[in-house]
Symmetry: C2
Subunit: 348 residues, 2 copies
């Protein structure tokens, strides 16, 4: 398959994909029959270029990494809006990696709708639109014969729901629970070393794990958005992030953590979902887990999910939940998945 | 795709698959486009039947589970040898689940060669032939346009190397390490509770985890066979189980386990492999791991592997490594993989 790619957004994650595309070009062609060129890049800070002959991606990376505008690149069209780039570029696949907004999903939601309506595939790591409009977007994609892939919205490139397209196909998920947010797991890990919440948060901010306004992470909203995606995809639900019962970690004290330790337990911010009859239970909350639970031993910014399945019982996956290369890889695995004419994921 | 299946071997694992085929019949058809019938069953204890109209699999299960001969089932041919069943049954896919022999791989190796030579697909959980002859068998399969799948040889149905066909496609494995044998992990877990090696082994035997002659498990031979498979498939090596440096757990004492515990560590029988230039290092040995290592917290008969990958760093998978249903599922996932016209695994 030949991908004519348009990047909408060219921040850390988009550039992570760009690097992997360059690094793995020959592997992609040889093993997966994938050829690619980038015909457009649009970024709110870096400008936008369209070049049907193919943009020099290494040069684009060089410019972007040094904060310089991309419009110095050769191009047929410059300065188009993201929507016009999606519409007018000779692209067949849109890499949607603009910022996450879990209130109304914009602008990503409109980007995705526009692309899919034109029959263009979308690969994205943008949680907002998927957490809010998964079913609508999938229906639109199917009706247009386009693919929508969003591996990187949960656990970055670490296998999560895409397990059930391949290695665990035919298995049903009965319930799931996971550490879906690395920032809060880092803070809890630091607190176990003796820090109080505020000190641990500051350290997370210093290392770039937490944002200046950490609300999304520490109040469990990021985890709730990811849990909504998992629940909708794997349990056939139709919930919104706001339907997830939610409690963050801001009131956890060093004393709570020591109390858990004395009982041979460890406090983790756990997202869990299960089906009870027709009802879906989905919740994010600090949970004291016995150390025998694989999730109890996942430390730092690492993420993990335990799936309870009908065929295998518990299967746990542990891996990175963020990072330029790991999240860029999520998009690469989406492209490989689109290119394979293999299993199309259908939830029964 | 329509599978005309011949079971060669109809013990625990084969029956595990049979149950899942029946249970998941409508899902397989609806989601994966798979139809199946069983045209032959051959078992050293239960006899052999061939029926081109399709064997009543529920009835075959009922007979087998009560230890009764299968030759009371309606059939065109009875009493054929396994080789003749492979040759003469109107099958397109052979479920090879005879006993494991890691010395010369027989009789499974001849079964597989016979099937693949005829262009029949093979799905197997039989470690011996794959550990010894992976490349030969794959070459034969490719030359005949047949598929060879062997998910269940390592970690049963828990995703392992099949991760790299789907969710982790495009990633390269730099090194891997894992708990590949449930019996020894169970024994070490029991020893941590205070048992000595002999008592723990007896408990494993009582529960059916260890055989009367436990050599294969406790001397690390089973783990070495699995490690050879992983190493050949994921690191592009051509090693035999005998090339794996190997030490078992028979000399581990309760004192060793307590000493590790005092250091915040835990002893596990670890199989590890990595590439150093052109050289492959593959070793199975008791290893004292810090408790911060995800593998250190895998207890009982559970299996686990940590893959160090170029795209994601460490990814760990934890799940069952044995069991009727879990291993039967490995074969089901093999069939789904064959039926998908998706990615064919090519090692670069």
């Amino acid at each position: 398959m030949r991908f004519d790619l348009a990047f909408v957004g060219f921040g850390t994650v988009g550039r992570g994909l760009a690097e992997l595309l360059i690094e793995k070009r020959s592997l992609l062609e040889r093993v997966y029959g994938i050829e690619w060129r980038v015909v457009a890049i649009s970024d709110i800070k870096l400008g936008s270029v369209v070049d049907e002959k193919g943009i020099d991606l290494s040069e684009a990376l060089r410019l972007a990494d040094s904060g310089r505008n991309l419009e110095s690149l050769p191009s047929q069209k410059k300065g188009l809006s993201p929507i016009d780039v999606i519409k007018e570029s000779p692209s067949n696949t849109i890499i949607e990696v603009t910022w996450t907004n879990i209130i109304d999903g914009e602008p990503g939601y409109t980007h995705m709708k526009t692309a899919l309506s034109l029959g263009k595939n979308v690969a994205t790591t943008n949680k907002g639109p998927i957490a809010l409009y998964y079913r609508d977007l999938m229906d639109l994609a199917r009706s247009k014969g386009a693919h929508l892939r969003f591996k990187g919205t949960v656990l970055s490139g670490t296998p999560a729901f895409n397990l059930f397209e391949g290695p665990l196909s035919g298995c049903s998920v009965i319930s799931l629970k996971g550490i879906l947010n690395g920032t809060t797991n880092f803070i809890l890990t630091e607190m176990e070393k003796g820090d109080d919440y505020t000190t641990a948060l500051k350290e997370a901010q210093r290392l770039g794990y937490a944002e200046a306004d950490p609300t999304m992470d520490v109040e469990g909203m990021d985890a709730a958005a990811k849990l909504a995606i998992l629940t909708n995809v794997l349990l056939g639900a139709s919930i919104k992030p706001g339907d997830v019962k939610r409690k963050g970690i801001t009131s956890i004290t060093p004393q709570d953590i020591q109390d858990a330790k004395r009982k041979g337990e460890r406090i983790k911010l756990i997202g869990r979902a299960e089906k009870e009859g027709d009802k879906i239970l989905a919740e994010v909350s600090p949970t004291s887990l016995p150390l025998s639970d694989p999730l109890a031993n996942v430390m730092g910014v690492t993420n993990a999910i335990t799936f309870k399945t009908d065929c295998l019982g518990d299967v746990t996956v542990i891996g990175p939940g963020a990072g330029r290369r790991a999240t860029g890889y999520a998009l690469l695995s989406d492209l490989i998945s689109i290119a394979s004419t293999g299993l199309t994921f259908k939830k029964d």
